[in-house]
Symmetry: C2
């Protein structure tokens, strides 16, 4: 989708992807089939391109350095990538710029895990410091006694223990910063997850002006704190009383921003390319309310009925095999753009 946005703006795109005939390759001028850390491939990419970006935060930091040494503009930059690749560094950075998160502790061994469970209290969520997405590399510790089992479950590797957030709902904000330091913030989305994977986003979310202002302040602090260039997804917990905690940041276009394709004139993909290319940022106002739903695995089989629904915009990724849980497509259901009404606070849910 980034490549498609680039094409609309007149750019030529070359993809580096270890998978032959990748979905992005189908809609791009060229593809280099190689591992993300292949130095020869990175040299070729660096020579072919003026600017490089990524849509996957687990790209090796060394790869970004090689591209920068080759004279490429790489955005987001190595600092944002490094911070987003390590959950302890990420939360430490956020707290250092006065952006609130859930309480957490760095875990290096079973001893430090037991101490952290005693301090943060159970239930708490143990996650690997690095890698892992869509709920992978995570284990809940439901009682003090569960530490050893969770430690084994995540492979006994450097980790983070996060206190459980008794949030009202999960929101996210898609934001962008240009090379000139200009910042653009999209309306908030309200997210639901199933099995650790994003299921739906409703945007613009029903939130009051204070929540919007709070999310915008958070987005601005993070973007400026990282001297960020590009689109970023910021996952938020809305706590009882309305306070927002940051759950996670993604230094890339984000699944909860897919609604912008059919709700905004300039979607998150074009916005990202504008930022990376040094263009002025585009507008972020919504012209429709959109409910985005991911189609996982065999859910793609419903495409025909969905394509026939005039309120549904379908986006199919062209992946060959519908493995269980694999994101195959998403739909954006277009709803009338209602006046925002703050939702009455419901019962707390659990992270």
């Amino acid at each position: 989708m980034l490549s498609q946005a680039s094409g609309r703006l007149g750019f030529n795109v070359v993809i580096l992807d270890p998978e032959e005939n990748s979905p992005a390759c189908r809609v791009s001028q060229g593809q280099i089939v190689a591992a993300y850390d292949n130095p020869t491939a990175l040299q070729v990419l660096g020579k072919a391109c003026q600017a490089v970006t990524f849509e996957f935060e687990n790209v090796p930091a060394r790869s970004v350095e090689i591209l920068i040494e080759a004279g490429c503009e790489v955005a987001p930059g190595p600092r944002a990538l490094a911070v987003a690749q390590d959950r302890v560094d990420e939360k430490s950075f956020l707290n250092s710029i006065k952006v609130p998160t859930t309480a957490f502790a760095a875990i290096n061994d079973l001893g430090s895990l037991r101490a952290a469970v005693a301090s943060l209290g159970a239930p708490a969520l143990l996650k690997t410091r690095r890698q892992g997405y869509d709920g992978k590399g995570q284990a809940w510790i439901k009682a003090d006694s569960g530490a050893a089992r969770a430690w084994a479950a995540i492979g006994a590797q450097p980790a983070i223990l996060e206190a459980r957030a008794e949030f009202v709902r999960e929101l996210s904000v898609i934001c962008a910063r240009g090379r000139d330091g200009d910042i653009a913030v999209y309306p908030l989305g309200e997210n639901t997850h199933a099995g650790g994977v994003l299921k739906t986003t409703l945007a613009p979310a029903n939130v009051g002006s204070q929540t919007k202002a709070q999310a915008t302040r958070i987005a601005r602090k993070i973007l400026e704190g990282l001297d960020y260039v590009g689109v970023m997804g910021v996952e938020l917990f809305e706590m009882p009383g309305g306070r927002l905690l940051v759950n996670e940041i993604a230094p890339r276009v984000h699944n909860s921003g897919h609604w912008t394709q059919d709700g905004c004139a300039c979607d998150q993909f074009e916005q990202h390319i504008r930022a990376v290319a040094g263009w002025p940022l585009g507008p972020t106002a919504a012209h429709a309310r959109v409910e985005m739903t991911n189609l996982l695995g065999n859910e793609i089989k419903a495409w025909k009925a969905l394509a026939a629904d005039p309120a549904v915009r379908i986006h199919i990724y062209g992946k060959r095999e519908a493995k269980p849980g694999r994101k195959m497509a998403h739909i954006n259901r277009i709803l009338p753009l209602a006046r925002s009404r703050p939702r009455s606070p419901g019962p707390a849910r659990k992270s």
Copy 2:
């Protein structure tokens, strides 16, 4: 833009184009670089694809036959292509299904031209029967005495003479018909031309419900009359009193339909691919009013200021060389969706 729409729906696209590194190739999976009538290339294309379409009506009819013989679904079909390739056949077909056009006569030599000028009256417009677009292959005959000069100007070849239409304004309607016979019609656009080339389209146009109904009836007759599959552009003259004449039909997506990219959920490109692929047609309602402007030749140099205007959506084609008059890009300026008011009839303009 057709290829980009295909990509969003999950299709893989192969382009046949005589130009290496064509704009479409930049955003497609593959390209065959060959002439449109190269039989080997057509065989390869036919084997690679389940369905084939074109965005240029001067594709040889024989090429379409070869693809059909190879087992491809080709849409629009050979009949629509044949009718649209010959201006006399086109107007004769339209009149045969009771769709009004300007008065015309088939011209085979200078003698028949002189007789037609005497019968239709000067001024009148002489056009080659085949080929020619954007004002090419045309010559005005301003007085009875101008026949010989015009006949020489168009290369003394089979032609059509068209009476001048004293129209109020130029409108167009983008319409589509699916494989199931379903028909979809977009709101009308109001067009301005400069030097025979489309300059702007404003859509939805300020027209009353009777004009809309008349255009829809015309679109329906033509689509059904040709057993058409795909998107068609129908250029109209609005005459004093409100009667619509068909100026020309284009068996493809049309420049005056580019506004749909930023004014409608399902643009003309996706609509065409839906029809060609046998999908249900998408919705055609406008969520914004759009003024589309073509950027020709060096006008593309204004891209930076245009990209910085939040009301402007810019679409750049990625052509390497900005030859004078060449369509390099277009912009869609987004305006508030006003209630339609029929425009008060102004003075007649000339075709």
